[in-house]
Symmetry: C2
Subunit: 150 residues, 2 copies
DNA sequence: GGCGTGGTGCAAACCGATCGCATTGGCGTT
DNA sequence: AACGCCAATGCGATCGGTTTGCACCACGCC
């Protein structure tokens, strides 16, 4: 398996909470719980996965609340949204900047491969096209080793 | 502007029609019209754009017919679908294999930059992860020269 | 040219995501 | 520590792009 660089979830959680404070948003238990899940972003969870994970602690929490808080954290720039046309967007609040993803088409797991920097490619595109590149998206779709052997 | 390699729309159209025949699908005027638009895929049209473009020739054609035929051509492997989480998927039937795209976030135009092959990256990912890579997606989002000067 | 079946047009259904609203509760103020 | 404002929550209703069901139509084998 590829080595995966990641940040300390505690530090990421603190950074997100800091953004809440700066933007004068209230620190509700539900909000903090969503932030905590995203700070780790184990497995690049979708809204459903976040919702399920918090069912034990917040049995009455609404799915709408998860949606709203994920969107809030996204608007604060503290989570990377991986949108998919078929729905079920996934989120990465541990590394909230664009990076490549490796997606298993069968079990839907998503991991972060370590790749030679895309900086060169981005620079190449900017120079050749005249575009001002704001962000990018790079996904590899395939079958993971686990699913291959199943 | 980046030079863009593309295929002869006539040849692409013939190839798609050939697939229709092989798969025993009827050659209706609406189906052929959709295939003809996709063979060129000027501007990477979405379903709406295809529908609009064919209004003059087929004023009574249903949007559902466009959807069904685009999906058919996709299932035949003759069009590349560029799905977006916010909807409005775009299609490329001229180069129906994965390749990078450069997308203007303002006017939504999509062009094909010429880049050093991604083969090396794909191979790197496969070797390092053990995944069997089936396809990929690589988009650069930015502001095109036209929109920058507006 | 006739027939069978797949294709079309229309409208209804679908469904994840979002919104409206009444209630709740975080947190600045006193 | 208690108050009170207004953002946040939970719930149900709603939305809009896409898909589906169905009756009618027409492509293409014979």
């Amino acid at each position: 398996m590829i080595a995966v660089a990641h940040y300390d979830p505690e530090k990421r959680f603190a950074a997100i909470v800091q953004k809440f404070r700066e933007s004068r948003h209230k620190l509700t238990p539900q909000r903090l719980a969503v932030a905590r899940v995203l700070a780790t972003s184990e497995g690049h969870p979708g809204v459903d996965a976040i919702y399920d994970k918090l069912q034990d602690d917040f049995p009455t929490m609404s799915l709408a609340t998860v949606y709203r808080n994920v969107m809030l954290i996204k608007s604060l720039g503290e989570v990377l949204e991986l949108g998919f046309p078929e729905g079920g967007n996934r989120y990465d609040g541990n590394k909230p900047y664009p990076h490549p993803h490796l997606i298993c088409m069968q079990c839907k797991k998503i991991i972060d491969p370590e790749l030679a920097s895309l900086k060169d490619l981005t620079r190449e595109v900017m120079a050749a096209s005249g575009f001002k590149i704001v962000t990018h998206r790079m996904d590899f779709f395939g079958i993971c080793p686990d699913c291959q052997s199943r």
